[in-house]
């Protein structure tokens, strides 16, 4: 019984992590059709901002939930302005340019900070289920993932801004005619996506070693989740995270974390053979 409970907590945690690390990527891809290969580096920058803020005396929760997203969001505005803006509609070139940006960020951070692992201690403590111990932070991440999903849904569905953004993505020319500047909407959307990535980085800082190359260990999962989910931002992210998180965690439970990742990947490739448009290409059509 305890074992079943702990495995389900771990599965939920795996799903929550996937939701958190891929939501920024999903917003940028789902809204703007831009695949941001520098996503891992956005996470890395978020993690570093959280760590520096904590070292400067800021409360850890504020550092993770406020400072990290703001820093990376601002960085996103700069990136959109300098690189992405010139490449709209050229998906492959955007991927290449953001890949270059990813290398550039890794190189820059390595030169400035050095190739050493830094970190902050995991906040709160832990509680026990039978013989097993679960950290409160694990539960906190699950709650945050749920809140995050509802927040994204609320912004897209129920605010003027969400309506404007969705409208602009569907028909930029029409939005322009109606007096909304598409460039501004693009810029803000990219910044929001970047801020979500920064938030993810901040949240992961306590549970993973923070090194300049840390992005590499998350992006594989994030990309697979977003591609597996398909074009609907919310439904796609949730369904793909649930499916892949489950497979990943069960395989991890049976073998090792690395082979959990391999199982996730194989499942994704086989699934894409059957559903090339991702899960939401076939199911939950027309949802957000």
């Amino acid at each position: 019984m305890d074992l079943a409970l702990i495995v389900s907590v771990q599965v939920l945690y795996a799903i929550a992590t996937l939701v958190i690390i891929s939501s920024g990527l999903a917003v940028i891809f789902g809204m703007m059709r831009v695949i941001n290969l520098a996503h891992g580096e956005f996470l890395m920058l978020g993690a570093y901002s959280a760590i520096f803020a904590t070292k400067a005396g800021v409360n850890l929760w504020i550092a993770m939930l406020v400072v990290a997203p703001i820093c990376v969001g601002l960085f996103g505005i700069v990136v959109e302005r300098l690189i992405i803006r010139h490449l709209y509609g050229r998906m492959v070139d955007t991927m290449l340019a953001t890949w270059g940006l990813s290398l550039l960020c890794v190189g820059l951070v390595t030169s400035v900070i050095g190739n050493t692992t830094s970190g902050v201690s995991t906040p709160e403590g832990s509680f026990s289920i039978g013989a097993y111990s679960v950290s409160f932070y694990t539960m906190a991440l699950i709650v945050i993932a749920v809140v995050l999903l509802f927040a994204i849904r609320w912004v897209l569905r129920s605010t003027d801004w969400g309506l404007i953004a969705r409208g602009t993505m569907q028909n930029p020319g029409m939005a322009d005619v109606l007096g909304i500047s598409p460039t501004r909407v693009y810029s803000i959307t990219f910044a929001v996506g970047a801020a979500l990535s920064g938030l993810a980085g901040g949240l992961l800082a306590p549970v993973s070693g923070v090194v300049p190359t840390m992005g590499g260990s998350f992006i594989a999962k994030a990309f697979i989740t977003v591609i597996g989910g398909g074009s609907a931002i919310l439904a796609g992210t949730v369904s793909a995270s649930a499916l892949f998180g489950l497979i990943n965690q069960l395989a991890t439970f049976i073998t090792t974390p690395v082979f959990g990742e391999v199982a996730l990947f194989i499942a994704a490739v086989v699934m894409l053979r059957m559903l090339p448009q991702g899960i939401t290409g076939r199911f939950f059509k027309g949802s957000l």
Binding site: I35, L37, I83, H86, L87, M91, V92, D93, M95, L96, A97, W99, G100, L101, S102, L103, L104, C105, V106, G107, L108, T110, S111, G216, S217, I219, A220, F223, I224, I227, T256, V258, F259, E261, V262, F265, V269, V270, L272, R273, M274, P276
Partner: protein, 338 residues
């Protein structure tokens, strides 16, 4: 200019220059430089595999490093177990090819768009990197060969003359082997591209739907090109494992995949010579960067990639061709005026 580029004479010219350079280099340079040049040639083989599948077949593969790494690991594991190198070399070509066939089947027959394909192939190389990295324990071994995890596999036996394990190739013979392989692959690919199959492959790149409507099975042709690219990358990996008698999971790393892309972008997409020159130039540059401490090589590669995508999207060789054509064209025009 364009006509010359596509005529068989340009292939013959490039190959002749290649053979001349290959024969001349060991006479002119010392051993250290020769070994440096050998690795440039090995990586040029990798570059040409990417140039072919991307530039001519239009397959967006961001994980060519997985086939390269698979070649390196296959050779290392096989040669440690077998002792004689002929079979391991063949395996190092066949196994990455088979893997490309399998992966390609899922991608092409699933009709993934090229953007998804880029992400999937990139992810494959990352998964390889993470998996091989985690095999450090003594329980991870194939036959007599421990996988070594992040420590890699040291002291890999070198290639020997076929059938004679006591007689390994020396530095000059190994250089000849790599360089003539490169020249042969270049020639072979140029021949393939000018053949009927090659025309279909290029046609599919230009317009997949039209080619399919004309009765060609685009998926099968793409799968063929992708598999061939995998084999060539595997051979390059095999030579790489030989070159330093060492291989480690970094052969699968994101940086390795990125480098290959940078070589092709810098050299020029849609040519075979461009990426060869691009790979040599970039490697020379990164070696130079390695000797000083101010700039990190990742940083410089990143800047090069961003700048080329934004400002020189065609790459050096085609842009140079354009410039020459402009100058040449002007001269003709002036001649007509006079």
């Amino acid at each position: 200019m364009t006509a010359f580029r596509e005529s068989p004479w340009s292939a013959v010219l490039v190959m002749l220059l290649g053979v001349m350079a290959t024969l001349a280099i060991p006479q002119w340079v010392d051993d250290f430089a020769l070994i440096q040049i050998t690795i440039y040639v090995v990586m040029a083989i990798l570059a040409i595999s990417q140039a072919f599948i991307w530039g001519f077949s239009g397959i967006l593969c961001f994980g060519q490093a997985s086939f390269f790494g698979l070649g390196a690991y296959t050779y290392a594991l096989a040669v440690v177990n077998m002792g004689e190198s002929t079979m391991p070399v063949l395996l190092a070509i066949a196994l990455p090819g088979l893997f490309a066939l399998l992966l390609g089947y899922f991608m092409f027959y699933g009709r993934l768009s090229d953007v998804y394909m880029g992400v999937i192939t990139l992810t494959v190389s990352l998964i390889f990197f993470n998996s091989v990295n985690s095999t450090a324990g003594p329980e991870w071994r194939i036959g007599n060969a421990p996988l070594g995890g992040f420590n890699g596999i040291p002291s890999i036996p070198p290639i020997n003359f076929p059938g004679n394990p006591e007689d390994p190739l020396d530095a000059i013979a190994f250089f000849y082997l790599c360089a003539f392989s490169l020249i042969a692959i270049y020639g072979g690919l140029r021949w393939l591209i000018s053949s009927r199959i090659g025309h279909v492959i290029v046609a599919i790149k230009e317009n997949e739907q039209r080619a399919t409507l004309l009765g060609f099975d685009a998926r099968a042709f793409k799968l063929f090109a992708f598999t061939l690219g995998g084999c060539i990358a595997g051979l390059s990996g095999c030579f790489f494992a030989n070159w330093g008698s060492f291989t480690s999971p970094t052969v699968f790393s994101l940086g390795q995949s990125a480098q290959i892309i940078v070589w092709v972008i810098v050299g020029g997409l849609g040519t075979l010579v461009g990426p060869i020159i691009g790979s040599m130039a970039i490697q020379w540059l990164t070696t130079q960067i390695g000797t000083q401490q101010t700039f990190n090589s990742n940083l410089v590669l990143g800047v090069i990639l961003v700048v080329f995508v934004l400002l020189v999207p065609k790459g050096i060789i085609p842009s140079l061709g354009d410039v020459l054509q402009k100058l040449f064209g002007k001269k003709v025009a002036k001649g007509e005026d006079a």
